[in-house]
C-alpha cells in the first residue's frame, strides 16, 4: 500500500515529523518497506533555451542543438523533434535523469557518432499529456532558464506492507485511523457531502439469487451529461504517487476513492449498457473481454456483471472493454458494490487475475461503505466533469450488522503477562472505531464493519497490545531445566554422521530436495519418479529418489571449474513416494579423481573402491556399528559398476541394509559426461542402524588384554580366484577365536607365476593366548590347523 505524507495528512491532523510518522507506522504493525522521495527526480528537469540548431552530420532527421541551461557552458544535445529551433524555450533532462514515461535513465551517449549530453523532452515523455510530436514549447519563461520546471516540493512516498488481516488499511484513511489511535494525531472527520440528485436512475439493477452468488450488495447511480477529461493536477499527482498512470478524470476518481477510502468502484459508459444490469453467476465456458486486454473463458459459478446481452465485468475483479469509459463518454453508471471475499478469491485464482480491486475485496472491505463510495465519487465527478447525478439505488443488502464480542480484562493479563486498565482499553478501542459498553470485569465490544478480521477476544487483545506497544511487556528469563533429551537416537546419528564424514576429508553440501528427472532416473532405474506439479524449472522437476542425483550434478560442475579430486557428501532425505513420510534419510558421498595428484612425496593413484569402502566402514563404526557386525557382500544396485561395488548389511547377508558403495556405473558416468570419469560413491542408510540397548551403550564391556607374548605367522595360500578373501579371513578367525587375535591379508597376486584361475594370498595371523605364553609346539599345532582347515574348505595349497 502506497501513501504520501501530504495525502495522509488530509485525514490525520498531526504536527509529527515525517520520520516520526514513519517509525510509528512500523511500531503499530504497518511495516514501512520503503520511503521514496516522490517528484524529487523531477527537479532534474530544467528550463532551457536552444541557442543554435545544426543538422546532424550523419542523420537527416536528427539535429544537434546548442542548449543554454543557465550555466556558463552551452551543451550539445542531439534532438529529433521537428519543432526544435533556435530561440525555443523547452525542458532539458540531464544525464542521470529518469524519464517519467519510460522510466529510462539517461546516459551520455553518442547518437550516430555525435555525443549528446542529455535530452530535450516532449510532454508525453514527462507524462504531462499524450503530445509526443515535438518537444515542449514554453512561453514567457525567458527569465527562468536554468530553473527546475517542476515546482513540486519533494514529498515522501511511503510503501507500507499491509498484513492480510488488515483490509481496513488498504485505504489512506484506515492508516490515518490507526495512527490516530497510537497518539500521533487526530482523525479528521469526513466532511458531510450534500449531493443533489435531480434525475432518476435510468438503469434497472438486480442480483440473481444463487447458492454461489458472490455479490450481496450492488449500489449504483447514473450520472448524465459529463465532460470526461484529463484529471486536474492535484489528482494526477496522487495517481502518479500510487505508481499508476492517469487515464481520465472518471477512471482516476474511481481509483482515487479506492486508495483513499478502501472503497473500490467501477464506472460504466452507460450508453453502451444494453438496457439493464444483471448480477449473476457465470455459465461454464462463457467468455468475456477484460480491460487488461485478455479474453477470459469462465467457469461455472463466477460472479459476473451483465447487461441484457453480454458480460460487462467480473464483479469486484476487473471491468470489461464493452462498457469501458472513454474521454468522449457522456453518461456513466457508477457502481459501488460488495462482493464476498471467498468468491472473489476463487474466481481470481482460477483465472489468475490480480487487480487492486480484487486485492481489497478478497481481504474484505467495509460492506457498509456502498453509499459513501457513491457519494464521494459522484461529488468529485460532477465537480470536475460536470453533469447531473441520479438517486442512489442499492440491490441486495443495504447494510450489515456489526459483530459484538465479550471481552474480559483478565484475559489480556493472562496472555500478555502485564496488566491493562479499563480506561486504557476503552481509549485504544474507541480510537480504532470500536464502541464499548461496560459489563462486569470487562466490556461488550461492538466491532466496526471495516474490521472483518476481529472475531474473538484474542483479536481484541492483539489490537490492545499492538497500540500499547510490545516494549511494555516485561521479559521473563527462561528456566534452565531440561525434561527430555534434546536429540533422539536417529537425530544424534544425523549430526554425528556429518562430523564423521567431514573428518575423512569430505566437504558437506546441502542441495535441493528436488532434482532433474533425467539425472535422477539414472540412479533410480525402474522406479517411478515423484513429480512436482509446478516446478521452479524443468530441470528441478522431481523429488530426488537418489542422493546421487544432485551430488553428481554438482560434482560435474566443480569438475568443469577445474577441481577434479573431490570428496562431497550430503545428509538428507530421498523420496520414494509422494505421500507424507515416504522418505528416508541417507548419507550420500561421492569421490572423484586421484589421491596424491602431483605430490613430491607420494605416488599418485586413482581413487579406488577400497578408498570408498574404508570411508563407509570407518563411518559405520563411528556411528556405533560394531566391526564384527559389518557384513560385506557383493550385492549392489544399478547405480554401480557391477564388479567394483558392494553392500554392507548388519550381521549377515539377510540383515538390515546399512550401505551401498562402489564405482559409479561407467554408463552413467558417460551419460552425465564427467570431465574426470573416475568416480566412486556410497549411500549409508542411517535409519537402518538400530539403537543399542541404553544400558549396553552406557557401560563398556570389560577390557580383556593378555599379558602373554604374542606371535605372528605369515601364510601364503594359492587358491581359486572366485574364493572371497573376506570368507577366507573369517574362516581362519573362527578356527580358534581365543588364540587367533587378528587376521590380515597383506598381499594378493594374480599372474604368470601361478596357475591360471588361481590367486596367491599372503595372510598375517596374530596369535596370543590369554592363559600362557605359546611355545613352538603350540604355535606349530595351530598353524598346522590353519593350513588344514583352509585346504579342506577352499582347496588351497600352501605356497612354498
Amino acid at each position: 500500500m502506497i501513501i504520501t505524507i501530504p495525502w495522509l495528512k488530509e485525514h490525520l491532523k498531526t504536527k509529527a515529523k515525517d520520520n516520526e510518522i514513519i517509525d510509528k507506522l512500523t511500531n503499530i504493525g504497518l511495516e514501512v518497506e520503503e520511503v521514496k522521495e516522490g517528484f524529487n527526480q523531477l527537479t532534474d528537469f530544467k528550463i532551457a533555451k536552444i541557442l543554435k540548431v545544426e543538422k546532424h552530420p550523419n542523420a537527416d532527421k536528427l539535429k544537434v542543438c546548442d542548449v543554454d541551461i543557465g550555466g556558463t557552458e552551452t551543451l550539445k544535445v542531439v534532438c529529433g523533434a521537428p519543432n526544435a529551433k533556435s530561440g525555443l524555450i523547452t525542458i532539458y533532462a540531464p544525464p542521470g535523469a529518469v524519464i517519467p514515461k519510460t522510466k529510462f535513465q539517461l546516459k551520455i551517449a553518442k547518437i550516430r557518432g555525435v555525443e549528446s549530453k542529455g535530452m530535450l523532452c516532449s510532454e508525453s515523455e514527462l507524462n504531462l499529456s499524450n503530445e509526443s510530436d515535438g518537444i515542449i514549447e514554453l512561453k514567457n519563461r525567458v527569465n527562468d532558464i536554468g530553473k527546475s520546471y517542476f515546482k513540486n516540493k519533494s514529498e515522501n512516498i511511503v510503501d507500507i506492507s499491509i498484513t492480510p488481516n488488515r483490509a481496513d488499511c488498504l485505504g489512506v484513511r484506515g492508516i490515518a485511523r490507526d495512527l490516530s489511535s497510537s497518539g500521533i494525531g487526530t482523525l479528521i472527520p469526513i466532511r458531510n457531502i450534500n449531493i443533489k440528485k435531480p434525475i432518476k436512475h435510468r438503469i434497472k439493477t438486480s442480483i440473481i439469487k444463487d447458492r454461489l452468488q458472490g455479490c450481496t450488495s450492488f449500489g449504483s447511480c447514473y450520472i448524465k451529461n459529463i465532460t470526461n477529461k484529463e484529471s486536474p493536477n492535484w489528482l494526477k499527482k496522487k495517481i502518479y504517487a500510487l505508481g499508476l498512470k492517469p487515464i481520465s478524470a472518471v477512471v482516476d476518481i474511481t481509483n482515487y476513492v479506492m486508495f483513499d477510502m478502501n472503497r473500490p468502484l467501477h464506472a460504466y459508459d452507460a450508453d453502451k449498457i444494453d438496457k439493464q444490469i444483471i448480477v449473476r453467476t457465470s455459465k461454464e465456458g462463457e467468455e468475456f473481454d477484460a480491460l487488461d486486454g485478455q479474453r477470459y473463458k469462465l467457469k461455472k459459478g463466477m460472479c459476473v456483471i451483465t447487461d441484457q446481452s453480454s458480460i460487462l465485468g467480473l464483479g469486484g475483479i476487473i471491468g470489461g472493454t464493452k462498457t469501458s469509459t472513454e474521454i468522449k463518454t457522456r453518461n456513466i453508471l457508477l457502481e459501488s458494490a460488495y462482493f464476498l471475499p471467498e468468491s472473489i478469491r476463487k474466481t481470481a485464482r482460477a483465472l489468475n487475475i490480480n487487480t487492486d480491486a480484487k486485492y481489497r475485496f478478497e481481504r474484505g472491505i467495509d460492506p457498509n461503505s456502498v453509499l459513501d463510495g457513491l457519494k464521494i465519487a459522484s461529488n468529485l465527478i460532477t465537480r470536475i466533469c460536470g453533469g447531473e447525478v441520479s438517486t442512489f439505488i442499492v440491490s441486495g443488502k443495504t447494510s450489515q450488522k456489526s459483530k459484538s464480542i465479550k471481552f474480559y480484562i483478565e484475559k489480556f493479563e493472562n496472555l500478555i503477562g502485564i496488566s491493562i486498565s479499563p480506561n486504557e482499553v476503552q481509549k485504544i478501542l474507541t480510537s480504532l472505531g470500536f464502541s464499548l459498553k461496560k459489563i462486569k470485569n470487562g466490556f461488550n465490544v461492538i466491532v466496526p464493519t471495516w474490521r472483518p478480521d476481529i472475531n474473538e477476544d484474542v483479536d481484541l487483545i492483539e489490537e490492545l497490545i499492538r497500540i500499547k506497544g510490545f516494549e511494555s511487556i516485561k521479559l521473563i528469563e527462561p528456566e534452565k531445566k531440561r525434561l527430555n533429551e534434546t536429540l533422539n537416537f536417529n537425530q544424534k546419528l544425523f549430526h554425528l554422521s556429518q562430523r564423521s564424514l567431514a573428518s575423512k576429508g569430505y566437504l558437506e553440501t546441502v542441495t535441493w530436495s528436488f532434482t532433474d528427472s533425467k539425472i535422477d532416473s539414472q540412479f533410480s532405474k525402474g522406479e517411478k519418479s515423484v513429480e512436482i506439479l509446478n516446478p521452479i524449472s524443468s530441470d528441478l522437476n522431481v523429488l530426488r529418489r537418489s542422493i546421487f542425483s544432485n551430488l553428481s550434478i554438482y560434482l560435474k560442475k566443480n569438475q568443469d571449474r577445474g577441481y577434479l579430486d573431490l570428496s562431497l557428501f550430503e545428509v538428507g532425505p530421498i523420496f520414494f513416494g509422494k505421500n507424507p513420510g515416504e522418505q528416508r534419510i541417507v548419507i550420500g558421498g561421492m569421490r572423484s579423481g586421484k589421491v596424491g595428484r602431483k605430490s613430491w612425496l607420494e605416488k599418485e593413484r586413482k581413487v579406488d573402491v577400497f578408498d570408498i569402502k574404508s570411508d563407509v566402514i570407518l563411518s559405520l563404526m563411528e556411528l556405533g556399528v560394531e566391526e564384527k557386525n559389518i557384513f560385506v557382500n557383493e550385492n549392489s544396485t544399478s547405480s554401480f559398476h557391477p564388479g567394483r561395488s558392494g553392500s554392507i548389511t548388519f550381521k549377515s547377508e539377510k540383515g538390515p541394509l546399512l550401505a551401498h558403495f562402489g564405482e559409479i556405473h561407467p554408463a552413467i558416468i558417460k551419460k552425465i559426461d564427467f570431465k574426470e570419469p573416475n568416480i566412486y560413491g556410497f549411500e549409508i542408510f542411517i535409519d537402518n542402524i538400530t539403537q543399542p540397548d541404553n544400558k549396553l551403550r552406557l557401560s563398556k564391556k570389560n577390557l580383556k588384554s593378555s599379558d602373554f607374548q604374542k606371535s605372528e605367522r605369515d601364510f601364503a595360500f594359492v587358491l581359486d580366484k572366485i574364493i572371497k578373501i573376506g570368507v577366507l579371513e573369517k574362516l581362519i578367525k573362527e578356527i580358534d577365536e581365543k588364540i587367533i587375535k587378528q587376521v590380515n591379508t597383506f598381499d594378493v597376486y594374480e599372474g604368470d607365476k601361478i596357475p591360471k584361475g588361481k590367486k596367491s594370498v599372503a595372510i598375517n595371523v596374530v596369535l596370543q593366548s590369554d592363559e600362557k605364553t605359546l611355545n613352538e609346539k603350540d604355535l606349530d599345532s595351530i598353524c598346522k590347523k590353519i593350513i588344514e582347515v583352509v585346504r579342506d574348505k577352499t582347496g588351497a595349497t600352501i605356497r612354498s
Binding site: 471467498e342 496472555l415 492483539e462 510490545f470 567431514a502 554438482y554 507424507p580
Partner: protein, 355 residues
C-alpha cells in the same frame, strides 16, 4: 697411603685430554682391565691389616666411581659429537609441502543448526521432526489458514498432485500440528528443517531452512516468549546486549503476532549485529492461536503458549558474514571450503558455540 697418587693424577689428566672414543676405551682398560690400576689396587685390600682395610676400601670406591663418571661423561661427549656430525649430513628441506590431504568441512547450515540446538537444549527444548512432503491440511488448514485465506498467497507452494492436497511444506509449522496431535501437553520443541517455496531470485531460494519453536504449557505468557527469544539471540550472536524490538505483525496461527528485529550497523563494510540504528527482521512469533489448539484437540482453556519461526540460512549469513543465500545450495568447492566449519568444531554449552 699406598694408592699411587702419581698414577691417579696421571690418569685423570689422560682422561681429560683423550681425543677419540678409542683413546678413552684403552684408558678404561688400563684402569679397570685385568692388569689395570684399579684391579691392582683392589688386590692389595686382602693384605692390609684389619683396622686400615675399611678406610682404604672406602677411598678406593670413591676413586673408582670418580673414574667411571669421568669416563662415561667423556664417552657421552664423543658419542654426542658423533651423532651431531651424522645429523649434519641428514638435513632435509623442511619447507617442502606436507603429504597430500583433503580437509573436510561442515556446511554452515549444519553448523548453525548444531549451535541453535545447543542453545535451546539448555533451556529445555527437544528437537522434533516431520516429513518434507505435507498435506495441505497440516501445512495450512490446521494452522488456521483456511482455503480462502489470502495469507496462502504469501506462500508460493510446490504441489505434488492436481487437487493440491499434497505439497512441499512451506514452513516447519506443520510439525507443531503433528507433535500436538500425537503427544500430550506440555510441549517444548524446536524443529529445524528444510522448507520450500516456489520462488527463486537473488534473495530467495526454492528451498531454505527454518527453525520452528513451540512452547505450550499452563501459564505461559508473552513475557516468556520475549525472554526465550532474547536469550536465544544473545547466545547465538555471542554478545551480551542485543538491541531487539518486537513489531506487531500477522500470522494466521498466532495471535498476537509479532516480528522481531535486531539492531545492526555496517562497520568497514561488515555487518555488526546487536547495536546501531538500523533494524533487521530475523524472525516471526506470537501466542498460539486458540483455533490451532482447538484443531489439535488441546484444551485451550487450560493450555496456551508461544510459537516462533526463524530463518536458519539467514541467521548463518548474519553471524558469519555470508552475503549470498543462493550460494548455500550451489555446492561450489571453493565456497564450501571457505565458509564450511572444521568437523572438530562442535558447538557445545560448556565450550561455547564457536571457536
Amino acid at each position: 697411603m699406598s694408592i699411587e697418587n702419581l698414577k691417579e693424577k696421571e690418569f685423570l689428566i689422560k682422561i681429560n685430554e683423550a681425543k677419540t672414543l678409542a683413546e678413552i676405551e684403552s684408558l678404561k682398560s688400563e684402569i679397570f682391565g685385568k692388569n689395570g690400576l684399579m684391579t691392582h689396587e683392589f688386590k692389595k685390600l686382602g693384605s692390609l691389616p684389619e683396622e686400615k682395610r675399611k678406610d682404604f676400601a672406602k677411598k678406593l670406591n670413591e676413586l673408582k666411581s670418580n673414574f667411571i663418571n669421568l669416563i662415561d661423561d667423556k664417552i657421552f661427549e664423543f658419542e654426542n659429537k658423533e651423532i651431531e656430525n651424522k645429523l649434519k649430513q641428514e638435513k632435509v628441506d623442511i619447507t617442502l609441502p606436507i603429504r597430500p590431504h583433503q580437509r573436510g568441512k561442515i556446511h554452515p547450515v549444519s553448523q548453525v543448526i548444531d549451535e541453535i540446538s545447543s542453545i535451546f537444549s539448555e533451556i529445555g527444548f527437544s528437537v522434533a521432526e516431520g516429513p518434507d512432503v505435507e498435506t495441505e491440511y497440516n501445512n495450512f488448514t490446521a494452522l488456521n489458514t483456511p482455503d480462502h485465506h489470502p495469507a496462502r498467497d504469501m506462500h508460493d507452494t510446490f504441489y505434488l498432485d492436481k487437487n493440491k492436497r499434497l505439497l512441499l511444506r512451506t514452513h516447519t509449522s506443520p510439525v507443531q500440528i503433528r507433535t500436538m496431535m500425537s503427544q500430550k501437553p506440555p510441549f517444548k520443541i524446536i524443529v529445524p528443517g528444510r522448507t520450500y517455496r516456489c520462488d527463486s531470485d537473488q534473495t530467495h531460494a526454492p528451498m531454505f531452512h527454518q527453525l520452528e519453536g513451540l512452547h505450550i504449557d499452563k501459564n505461559i505468557t508473552m513475557g516468556h516468549l520475549k525472554g526465550c527469544l532474547n536469550h536465544f539471540i544473545k547466545e547465538f550472536f555471542e554478545i551480551k546486549n542485543v538491541k531487539m524490538r518486537f513489531r506487531p505483525s500477522h500470522f494466521p496461527f498466532t495471535e498476537p503476532s509479532a516480528e522481531v528485529d535486531i539492531g545492526y550497523k555496517i562497520e568497514n563494510g561488515r555487518i555488526v549485529v546487536g547495536e546501531g540504528d538500523k533494524w533487521l527482521e530475523i524472525l516471526g512469533c506470537g501466542m498460539v492461536h486458540p483455533n490451532v489448539l482447538k484443531n489439535v484437540k488441546v484444551n485451550n482453556k487450560k493450555y496456551k503458549g508461544f510459537a516462533f519461526g526463524i530463518g536458519i540460512d539467514r541467521l548463518a549469513m548474519l553471524k558469519y558474514g555470508i552475503n549470498d543465500l543462493r550460494a548455500f545450495f550451489e555446492t561450489d568447492y571453493r565456497w564450501l571450503s571457505h565458509f564450511g566449519f572444521d568437523p572438530l568444531d562442535v558447538p557445545t554449552n560448556y565450550r561455547g558455540l564457536s571457536k
